[in-house]
């Protein structure tokens, strides 16, 4: 009987050691390394940034930042002030997720072992970390909505119309449920796509045997594409949630000027 190979990776990140009561897993270690590297390189770029950049690092990073800023401002319907308020979070999410997605394809990640557990594991192939990022993004959305349209507007965002009508209550409960579902989809999508891709890579390389290096090459390119799409998607969905959080319910408050929501996705 032919049996397909199992993925060599475990579904959950493996524990390496305990730091007090906190079990430190391999994905946490690699995530911290990636974060430190990104902070260093962006800090260097920011320090050498000037009106007429002479440093190449600064030039490239300014270009990337400008590109992402354009996308974010587009999502906010051209409202640059509001877009720039959330820009730091959004660009951090994009760059960090993208680097973590791509880091899973580096040689040595998942193959260097220490006491039979892989020493490194891409940060986004762990459901805990994607759930943490989704929680952070959605908490920002809700706190921003509360600050922007107030507690009443926030409540009316879910329960709109006449509250004596049971249908409106039902719709509101559905909206609340959808809010929880957002958390699940946002985290599970990123985790599923990146983890599925890595499991696919290892399964293909086992199936191809000696020609694994050739067989995994097309999948590699697919993975690079998917890494970009998923990072972009996470950022854009967070941005459009931010836009949507204040676009409804604010019809009642006259003081708040409603911008047309250029929400996509």
């Amino acid at each position: 009987m032919i049996s397909l190979p199992m993925a060599t990776e475990a579904l959950a990140a493996e524990k390496l050691f305990d730091l007090g009561p906190l079990p430190v897993t391999n994905s946490m270690i690699f995530g911290v390394i990636i974060a430190a590297a990104l902070l260093t390189i962006f800090g260097l770029a920011a320090r050498s940034s000037q009106l007429w950049p002479k440093s190449r690092v600064a030039y490239w990073f300014e270009t990337v930042t400008e590109l992402i800023k354009g996308m974010v401002v587009d999502t906010f319907g051209g409202d640059e002030k509001r877009a720039l308020r959330h820009f730091p979070l959004l660009i951090t999410l994009f760059v960090f997720i993208l680097t973590c997605n791509l880091s899973g394809l580096l040689p040595g990640v998942g193959t260097i072992t220490y006491n039979d557990t892989p020493l490194f594991r891409a940060w986004t192939t762990d459901l805990n970390s994607t759930l943490a990022m989704a929680t952070l993004a959605l908490a920002t959305v809700h706190i921003y909505a509360l600050k922007e349209i107030g507690a009443r507007g926030y409540f009316r965002h879910f329960f709109s119309g006449n509250l004596k009508n049971p249908m409106n209550i039902f719709i509101g409960l559905n909206e609340l449920f959808g809010e929880i579902l957002r958390l699940v989809t946002l985290s599970l999508r990123l985790f599923g796509v990146i983890y599925g891709g890595e499991a696919l890579l290892s399964a293909i390389s086992v199936l191809a045997g000696n020609f694994g290096w050739a067989a995994t090459l097309p999948i590699m390119f697919l993975e690079i594409f998917v890494a970009f799409v998923q990072a972009y998607l996470f950022m854009m969905l967070t941005a459009s949630y931010l836009v949507m959080a204040v676009s409804h319910g604010s019809e009642e408050s006259e003081t708040h000027v409603v911008q047309p929501a250029g929400a996509k996705g």
């Binding site: 199992m6 989809t185 599923g192 599925g196 996509k264």
Partner: protein, 71 residues
């Protein structure tokens, strides 16, 4: 009755690929039509299309996830 697990895996990936394949096909058709109608906003259309492709792709990723993590 003993069912070969390979058969189940093959059916999982085969049936699970139908939906996302149709979805991406529809997105592609819509993008081509939209770009043909107003080519000047091609960038915006493509950005939205990539978001949609990512959303549809996730469904297939779940199939792969289930396929590779069950024995």
């Amino acid at each position: 009755m003993e069912v070969d697990p390979s058969l189940i895996k093959g059916l999982t990936i085969g049936l699970g690929a139908i939906g996302p394949a149709v979805g991406i096909g529809l997105i592609g058709a819509a993008v081509v039509g939209a770009v043909g109608r107003n080519p000047e906003i091609q960038g915006k259309i493509l950005a939205t299309a990539f978001i949609m492709v990512g959303l549809v792709d996730a469904v297939f990723a779940f199939v792969l996830l289930i396929l590779f993590t069950t024995s």
